[in-house]
């Protein structure tokens, strides 16, 4: 599900905007360890400058959990931490490899100009 998101750009205006993908951000955030919703939002802001709205975040979490790419851990009071699963890691690796290929090709073309 792709929903409205709040894009907080960096100083050079490189906010991902339309090319952002909330499920990918969530997987990348959880790759460094389990987190609950609020921690994910702040982590995503820190590592790629995009602030997901809470509705957008939970839309992504719900779909990722249904796919079996993330799973909930024991709740901490009212907070619910999640962690990435083995299949989630595989999907994230594949997706990032595609992006790396795309970035490399795109930068190569820019440098050739």
């Amino acid at each position: 599900m792709r929903t409205t998101r709040h894009v907080v750009g960096t100083k050079n205006g490189s906010g991902l905007g339309h090319f952002s993908d909330p499920p990918l951000f969530v997987l990348a955030s959880l790759a460094s360890g389990p987190k609950h919703g609020h921690a994910m939002i702040e982590d995503i802001v820190a590592f790629c400058g995009v602030r997901l709205g809470p509705g957008t975040l939970y839309g992504a979490i719900a779909r990722l959990e249904q796919q079996g790419w993330i799973e909930p851990l024991a709740a901490e009071e009212r907070r619910q931490p999640y962690r990435i699963t083995a299949s989630g890691l595989r999907v994230l690796r594949a997706k990032l490899a595609t992006l790396r290929q795309f970035t490399k090709a795109g930068l190569g073309r820019l440098e050739a100009r």
Binding site: M1, T4, G15, Y58
Partner: protein
């Protein structure tokens, strides 16, 4: 965010979703930033969850997304027109059945009514008048969620506005062999009361109301992009 507002916002989601994520989502809303932007994000997401319930991951292109790309003419042209035709058919059926039930002797159902006939006919009127608006909003919602350019949604809005603005329901027994109830829908531009034909004026009103939410959404996103460059 105010806990009461957070609770109300969570209530916008479908029951199944709330049962699974409601408590933790409400806790997130209470501890996170408040504000109009956050509330709008939650309302939009809840609406999306109701229209397109979570079924699978979006990292793979869904069949619905695929249709939007492969056959936009069907998703934004034919589909809305068929939906509107279905809504008008239901409205006409309510009018016809109400006529048969509540005033079988009358020559037309457009007469003074009372009792149970009022809510019955009002339901038909509601479907008739709200269908173009609701379908137009649905077009905007799909276009926004699928990040589509405005060309095909605009085609859908114009079609829906023209049909909705010019459609007129007529019902009478006179002139029909056997005196059966006869209901038909005509599409007429009408007289030029406002300087432009009435049908066109109504179409422009419908077009404005249906396209406005999408245009605001586009404007808000453009504002986000501009703020990114500050």
């Amino acid at each position: 965010m105010n806990p009461r507002l957070a609770h109300l916002l969570v209530r916008l989601y479908p029951r199944a979703w709330r049962e699974r994520y409601g408590a933790e989502f409400e806790a997130l809303l209470e501890t996170g930033r408040g504000g109009v932007g956050t509330a709008a994000n939650v309302v939009w997401s809840a609406l999306g969850e109701r229209v397109f319930p979570t079924l699978g991951g979006s990292m793979e292109q869904s069949r619905f997304q695929s249709w939007c790309v492969r056959a936009p003419w069907a998703m934004f042209g034919l589909g809305p027109v068929v939906l509107l035709a279905a809504a008008y058919f239901i409205a006409c059926f309510i009018l016809w059945s109400g006529w048969k039930i509540f005033m079988p002797e009358a020559d037309t159902p457009f007469v003074r009514i009372d009792g149970l006939a009022i809510p019955y006919f009002q339901a038909g009127r509601l479907i008739y008048f709200s269908a173009p608006i609701v379908i137009g909003w649905a077009i905007g919602l799909v276009a926004a969620r699928q990040r589509l350019k405005a060309v095909w949604p605009a085609v859908g809005w114009i079609l829906i506005a023209l049909i909705g603005g010019t459609a007129q329901i007529h019902a009478s027994r006179t002139g029909v062999t056997g005196g059966f109830e006869h209901i038909r829908v005509d599409f007429v531009m009408g007289s030029s009361g406002h300087g432009i034909p009435d049908g066109l004026f109504h179409a422009l009103v419908i077009l404005s109301v249906t396209a406005l939410p999408y245009l605001i959404w586009r404007l808000l996103h453009r504002a986000n992009f501009l703020s990114a460059g500050d």
